[in-house]
Symmetry: C4
């Protein structure tokens, strides 16, 4: 298994062209949040904004607009209960996160279907959390998404793949992924998270157990979306996003017992500058 090296960060995080404008840095759509899980939408959105994504829109429920406006005034807010609005937002976006805090209500299946229907071959879709469960339960055909990233943690992967945690060996994981979504990149979140990319397996060797706290995975989705919006879809970009998330967490964990997602997010702009080429 190949290790992802810190040097991936300076390879990927490019100095920006002075003549560029926000339209060059991605149109990100975060489909996230429900009545009980509002914070997930905030963390994913805030992470995307802090990585430097050009335009970030959250598709959530109106009850969450005030909290999002307060914490992330840089982002726009739309209502996923308005199906036309949802379809238009998906069509206009080039990177879509679907899952953080959606829960497993019937609505989630509809949302995923709309993403699949309204995205095109240039759209990256990052599926997280409950979206993965719902896709599996509803046997939604994920092969229609050409740039798909799945980000389960070990427990979610167990439910998706049928593999208990001790059985989650590289070979088993690869075989399971081929069945579930042969066209997807899998990020398996664990101690030293792994990336499965069409036969290639990569692994980070950073990260720490202070990250074992609610919201850490939501934060990763926002970082990945921001990275892909700016630096393009590639295994290198995905590796860099995953690495950065753990890299900043390791810095925080030197002084903080628990690595709080809100704190990690606030430090993204500084570490990206420090590590850029």
């Amino acid at each position: 298994m190949e290790k992802i090296n810190k040097s991936i960060l300076s390879e990927i995080i490019k100095t920006r062209d002075p003549e560029s404008y926000k339209g060059n840095y991605g149109r990100i759509l975060i489909i996230a949040g429900s009545l009980p899980f509002g914070g997930a939408a905030i963390l994913s959105t805030s992470a995307a904004v802090h990585t430097g994504a050009g335009l970030v829109t959250v598709l959530t429920i109106p009850e969450k607009f005030t909290a999002i406006n307060t914490v992330v005034p840089e982002a726009m807010t739309l209502d996923y209960n308005d199906k036309q609005e949802m379809a238009r937002a998906i069509i206009k976006s080039n990177v879509i996160v679907v899952g953080p805090g959606l829960g497993t209500s019937t609505n989630t299946a509809e949302i995923i279907s709309s993403v699949i229907k309204n995205s095109d071959s240039e759209t990256t879709v990052i599926m997280d959390a409950s979206a993965l469960t719902v896709a599996a339960e509803n046997k939604i055909d994920l092969t229609r998404v050409s740039k798909l990233i799945l980000t389960p943690h070990q427990g979610e992967w167990a439910r998706l793949s049928g593999l208990d945690i001790p059985e989650q060996t590289p070979d088993n994981n690869e075989a399971a992924l081929k069945k579930i979504a042969p066209n997807a990149v899998l990020i398996l979140k664990k101690h030293h998270s792994e990336i499965y990319d069409f036969g290639k397996i990569l692994q980070i060797d950073n990260g720490n157990p202070g990250m074992a706290t609610g919201g850490m995975g939501d934060t990763l989705t926002g970082i990945l979306a921001g990275f892909i919006g700016q630096f393009g879809f590639s295994i290198e970009t995905i590796s860099a996003g995953l690495y950065l998330h753990s890299y900043i967490a390791d810095k925080i964990n030197k002084t903080d017992y628990v690595v709080l997602p809100s704190k990690l997010i606030g430090k993204i702009p500084k570490y990206m500058m420090k590590l850029s080429n």
Copy 2:
């Protein structure tokens, strides 16, 4: 009376196992808040998140969801007016705080009854503030909770025990506790707070009068919940949580006239790291 020593902190705050995940660090339920007392729910929840609790859910009224999402996006929010939702949340949790900002409406008695009915022998219940008053007034049988912590300040303890403050001697307190809740650990909040644990009496010798401000007790409940969620229910864990609360407050009080709960909470991750083993 035995003094609690600072060394309790490094004994209890363990370095985390690299192979652990958030499910290992407690499923905390904070039942708190009502229309006039929304801040209490925020402070208790935020304190639990900042200690490193794995999963923190607040059971409150929907009117408070936005403020909680904004201040503590790491936490989940549920509605205690939905009795089935409440029951499910209690069953899924292993540490429950009940009381901060609930007020003394009839609803509070129902909530306490649901906690008693739906928790099991492995569940720790921390009862604070109005929940204590309501339990006393409604003669709710607290002996069915096997891991129970009561956290009154002297005034609340006077109402509960019938002991005026000058009468609150160790012997009287112990006798009163035996009658009220023989199976409970009592934390009596005062200058140099005391812990009564089945015949054993412990006392901290830190803390300061800058802590005499609204919300300080709510903050303690969150710290205790986070500690028990991570380090298990024991008199040592309780002692460490109580000690840490005053320890950080003493640090703040060196420079700040009043020790604001929000500020204390923000410093928990750093002091836990500094003081861990």
Copy 3:
């Protein structure tokens, strides 16, 4: 005119008794805020909490509860449209701020009447902003409040006293105050604000024009309330509160062009500790 000296701060800001509890530090009620002026309620409340007031309750409209909970989770919130709730809150409080952001609707007159009716000879009432205008317009008899502080700026004082700003000489101000509210202490907010106290006139010689910004007066009311709640009603306490407000503003103005109320409030605990005896 006597100058207020910085030494007033160390005289008034006492080291707290270790055996004290929050009930010793004032039960403050801030009656403030309306749909367009929600921020005034937040700033006054936050200032009171940051000075170390024991218990702070805001009486406002429910639409403002979420913002208050978010910014000042230490405070409690009640609805001034519920007249019984308002009466009970007034009776329970020993320091009341009435005015910031209330506006001049008919409701304000009713609120002032309830304050006068339900407060007693031990209650301090601080009247600010629109409350002053409404009291004047409705010819509300203020002599029934025994501990009354008025805090108009020059423009408000012109409307109240009928004195144009150039006419606002010490003699004229004193004469006007005798007619309007002979039992009141007047704080006239201006460059080098003045205090009129039953024949005695005091003046601060600090403050700066960076304070000429919205919300600065609301902040002062909260500081005064917190000081009186902790250190008792006296001309010295009032002088110290007024002085501290400008003192911190001067420190901020060394580095900041405009002195933002939110920033001033955040620095109160540190300056109170530094300047306490």
Copy 4:
């Protein structure tokens, strides 16, 4: 094309008169925000407050009041759906920002018409974003506003002027402006933004691509409004506001990969003091 020099800042940012009060520093009205674009209203308002504007009112929808109160308690909030309230607010203001986050609904045309009708020859109007598009689409006659500033970025200017980005040469821009709004000052936001002022063309030579992120333009409108409210309407004031925005962004970009509007806003008071005369 004349370059704007950093010295413009110390020329314009004057030391305040000690005898001044908040009424001297502008009555600013920010007409901004709609359900999906609430953050734009917050950023514009917050920027105006942080520059030192005396009184700042936001005219928006009530759904956004809580977020504004939370982030900028110094500002007042009114509802633009109440047409009388809107008219009164416009009449009372001397600097008006119209556009950030309004979107292109029919309402926006009505709002612009009300601004034109109710402002007078002393009122400065800053038109941004969707307001520009709507004004063009509805052929609203902008010549009735005597002090008008337009702040499109290159894409918006393309839509307004019919000039594709490569065609946006100084001569073409000037000719187009003469047709669209001959009495307006045009700020064309781009790499090294330009100001077109009745035949004169000025350009800043600072700014950086880290500013290419959502909300950066909203922030500029607030800075311009605050500057004009305090320092008067002139090409020098406008130049200084534009320069400061990029100046602070350049400082942030030394350490941060993306320049977040919220962060830029927080630094305004310090840089204004440092750069004042």
